[in-house]
């Protein structure tokens, strides 16, 4: 049978175009993701990659040299007394701040969970420290804690107490910056706990009340267990944020006096932007990132566990 060109054209036209269409559809998803991927590359991956690369070099910006140093920068950082001091201070700063934020946040949330006149306004007002820029808060508190002219010492003097050297003595300086950080960050903890409290069924409290449980027993056996996952997630997030938080310590004490408030981020700043030792600074930053990874892994595990428990409950 002779091949009919018209038939062939028809036959060709009737062949379903399955393969190219499926491939294009798959590629479409990637096109949608591409802008976000590019943004992540520019904003996160490139700077981290560059810092990692610089951490293996001895960089001198003043004479323009950049010599491969291997792990020398890491060895230098880890063996320095400054690193151990900064790590210790970071631990005190982080755990002190987080414990204070969670404790105060929970107390305020319990208060705001009650019904009283003006509670809605109070819930808005407590956000003020949270929304103020860290630098503004740092400067205001720095003035208030001034040894000679500060408001806090003025109040203490009027109450008959000796003025304290808030920012000039090592222990008090760390205490002061922790308090400032708690003041700034507790609203977030308070609102998160408040959301958690509002999800606790009221009938549990009613049943406990009927069974004769007092306030403390209801708090210990109902409230706290119900807030367990919220608390852990909040603690982990606050730990990650606080560990990297630079503004308050840099603005209030600059890491002093005598490095008693120098934490790892301010140490990185000192190496990189005061001494212009970019290689050392980058190595220190990578070490901080590795420490943060531990918290991040814990956080993800908690999320996964909570997700697993929720699906088990749903079944």
């Amino acid at each position: 049978m002779a091949i009919n060109s018209a038939t062939n054209v028809e036959a060709i036209q009737n062949v379903p175009k399955k393969r190219p269409k499926r491939l294009l559809r798959r590629l479409e998803h990637w096109w949608f993701l591409l802008p976000s991927v590019l943004a992540i590359l520019f904003i996160f991956v490139y700077p981290i990659g560059k810092a990692l690369q610089m951490s293996f070099f001895d960089i001198d910006v003043l004479d323009g040299s950049s010599v491969f140093a291997g792990l020398k920068n890491y060895q230098a950082i880890l063996s320095q007394a400054d690193f151990k001091n900064s790590l210790y201070n970071s631990a005190i700063w982080t755990f002190g701040s987080v414990a204070g934020q969670l404790g105060l946040g929970l107390a305020v949330a319990l208060l705001l969970n009650e019904k009283f006149k003006g509670v809605k306004i109070m819930r808005s007002l407590i956000l003020i420290p949270w929304i103020m820029p860290g630098l503004a808060i740092a400067l205001i508190w720095k003035f208030m804690l001034n040894g000679q002219l500060g408001l806090v010492n003025d109040i203490l003097s009027k109450l008959g107490y000796e003025p304290l050297n808030w920012l000039g003595s090592p222990g008090l300086a760390m205490f002061s910056v922790i308090m400032i950080n708690i003041w700034k960050a507790f609203p977030f903890a308070a609102l998160t706990f408040l959301a958690g409290l509002s999800a606790i069924p009221k009938d549990q409290y009613e049943a406990a009340h009927v069974d004769g449980a007092n306030i403390w027993q209801r708090f210990w056996h109902i409230t706290l267990p119900s807030l367990k996952y919220v608390s852990v997630i909040l603690a982990l997030l606050s730990t990650i944020w606080t560990f990297n938080y630079f503004d308050i310590i840099f603005s209030v004490t600059g890491g002093g006096p005598a490095k008693s408030t120098e934490i790892l981020p301010t140490m990185v700043y000192r190496f990189s932007f005061e001494n212009f030792q970019y290689g050392l600074g980058s190595a220190a930053a990578i070490i901080i990132a590795c420490i943060n990874m531990v918290f991040a892994v814990l956080y993800l595990r908690m999320l996964k566990e909570e997700g697993g428990q929720k699906s088990a409950k749903a079944k």
Partner: protein
């Protein structure tokens, strides 16, 4: 449906790109020119000659009364040069090192920069500054001889001429005349012992003798005879002279207790709060404090005296505020023209008289106005002033000493230990710089 998908894609792309672009945008500064292009000073200012408007970017790192006057003088320059506009950008003094270094790394320096030591030396070493020797010699600029050689030497790094000194300053002691009178001190102390005695008398009734900001240890050590290099030309800070100077500096707080209890945490702000509020009877600082104190604390009747003489005799530091033109500037000729206009005899007189600074030019300093008693402590620096040491990595040594001083204040270290540790830093610095 397909249209909707693609329009969503376009919208999300535009949004993401706008975030990236805005995040990457930089401060207003000069557009970077080709770093490898040699500076060409012989070409005429084509743009200016053609009447085209030129905008010069200018970074200033100082504050207070100086900035106010600079703003007025820029306005006057723009009036007399209608096709030149100067965009002044003020950088906080304590942030200047970071800002300038970051800009230098990014080839994003302005057309004109007025900063402080050691920025001038760092930028010269990095090859970022225009060589001004030839253009100034070719035009036979009179400032080359009218500005004292010691000032030229202190402003420029080694044999380079990349900086034109704009102003000069040397440290003196500002003292509150009322507090001195109340303490029964008739004459300002001339020696260390007299200074300690006077300080003890001034510390009473909530007042303290001296407010400091952890930088004055250098000039006090100069009065102890401290030098940066030994006779063999090696960088040496672990010497008896430095030890004596730093010991006095820290003893004022730890032993004689004539300073505020929060001194270990003091910076510029706290020191000036105490001075301006009348809590501190003395402050060691430069000539810029004259107009700043008149502006911020007009009630304080203050006197000016030279630093008390120590075991090494009388001394002070000698520093300048440098004008710099980055090589990358596309308007080098216009930038130089503005600087030379600012450094003309007439404008140097205006600057010095308005601010009560010692004029940078000798011919202007000889004017009868500057022969008043208040200027004598500053003028003494011509004989006793110690020029800035030529170390581009000086910040590292300073930091080691400053941190050490804080540790001494807190009883954690001795001065000897501080200097031993600072010497290790100095050895590392010198190993890089001696070649």
């Amino acid at each position: 449906m397909k249209m909707k998908k693609w329009s969503s894609l376009l919208a999300s792309s535009l949004l993401t790109l706008s975030v990236v672009v805005s995040g990457c945008s930089s401060q207003p500064a000069a557009k970077p020119a080709d770093q490898n292009k040699p500076a060409d000073n012989s070409k005429p200012a084509d743009n200016a000659a053609n009447g085209e408007k030129i905008t010069l970017s200018y970074w200033d790192t100082f504050s207070g009364a100086e900035l106010d006057l600079m703003t007025q003088m820029i306005a006057d320059y723009e009036k007399s040069h209608p096709n030149i506009k100067i965009d002044k950008f003020d950088i906080p003094f304590d942030q200047r090192g970071i800002k300038i270094q970051a800009a230098a790394q990014a080839n994003d320096l302005p057309d004109i920069l007025r900063s402080d030591y050691p920025d001038n030396m760092e930028l010269t070493k990095m090859g970022k500054l225009l060589d001004l020797k030839k253009p100034l010699e070719d035009m036979k600029w009179d400032g080359l001889t009218d500005i004292p050689k010691i000032i030229w030497d202190t402003a420029n790094y080694k044999d380079n001429l990349t900086v034109i000194p704009q102003d000069r300053f040397e440290y003196v002691v500002y003292y509150n005349k009322k507090l001195f009178a109340d303490a029964g001190i008739k004459e300002f102390p001339k020696t260390w012992d007299e200074f300690i005695d006077a300080s003890k008398k001034l510390t009473k009734d909530g007042h303290f003798a001296l407010a400091t900001r952890n930088i004055e240890w250098e000039v006090l050590s100069y009065t102890a005879g401290a030098k940066w290099f030994d006779k063999d030309g090696n960088l040496k800070v672990d010497t008896p002279e430095w030890e004596k100077g730093l010991q006095l500096y820290t003893d004022l707080f730890t032993k004689y207790k004539v300073q505020p209890p929060a001194t270990p945490s003091y910076g510029y702000g706290e020191e000036h709060s105490d001075w301006n509020s009348g809590k501190a009877a003395m402050m060691i600082s430069g000539s810029w404090e004259i107009e700043n104190t008149k502006k911020d604390a007009p009630n304080i009747d203050f006197g000016i005296a030279p630093l008390p003489a120590g075991p090494g005799g009388k001394a002070t530091n000698l520093n300048t505020t440098p004008w710099m033109i980055p090589k990358q500037s596309k308007h080098q000729k216009e930038a130089l023209d503005f600087i030379l206009w600012m450094e003309s005899k007439e404008n140097v007189m205006r600057w010095a008289k308005t601010l009560n600074h010692i004029p940078i030019r000798t011919s202007v300093a000889n004017d009868p106005y500057f022969q008043k008693d208040m200027f004598k402590p500053f003028l003494e620096a011509n004989e006793i002033g110690v020029p800035q040491v030529e170390l581009i990595r000086r910040r590292e040594i300073d930091k080691a000493i400053k941190d050490g001083i804080q540790a001494v204040y807190l009883g954690q270290k001795t001065i000897k230990q501080v200097l031993e540790e600072a010497q290790k830093v100095a050895d590392a610095v010198w190993a890089k710089e001696k070649n």
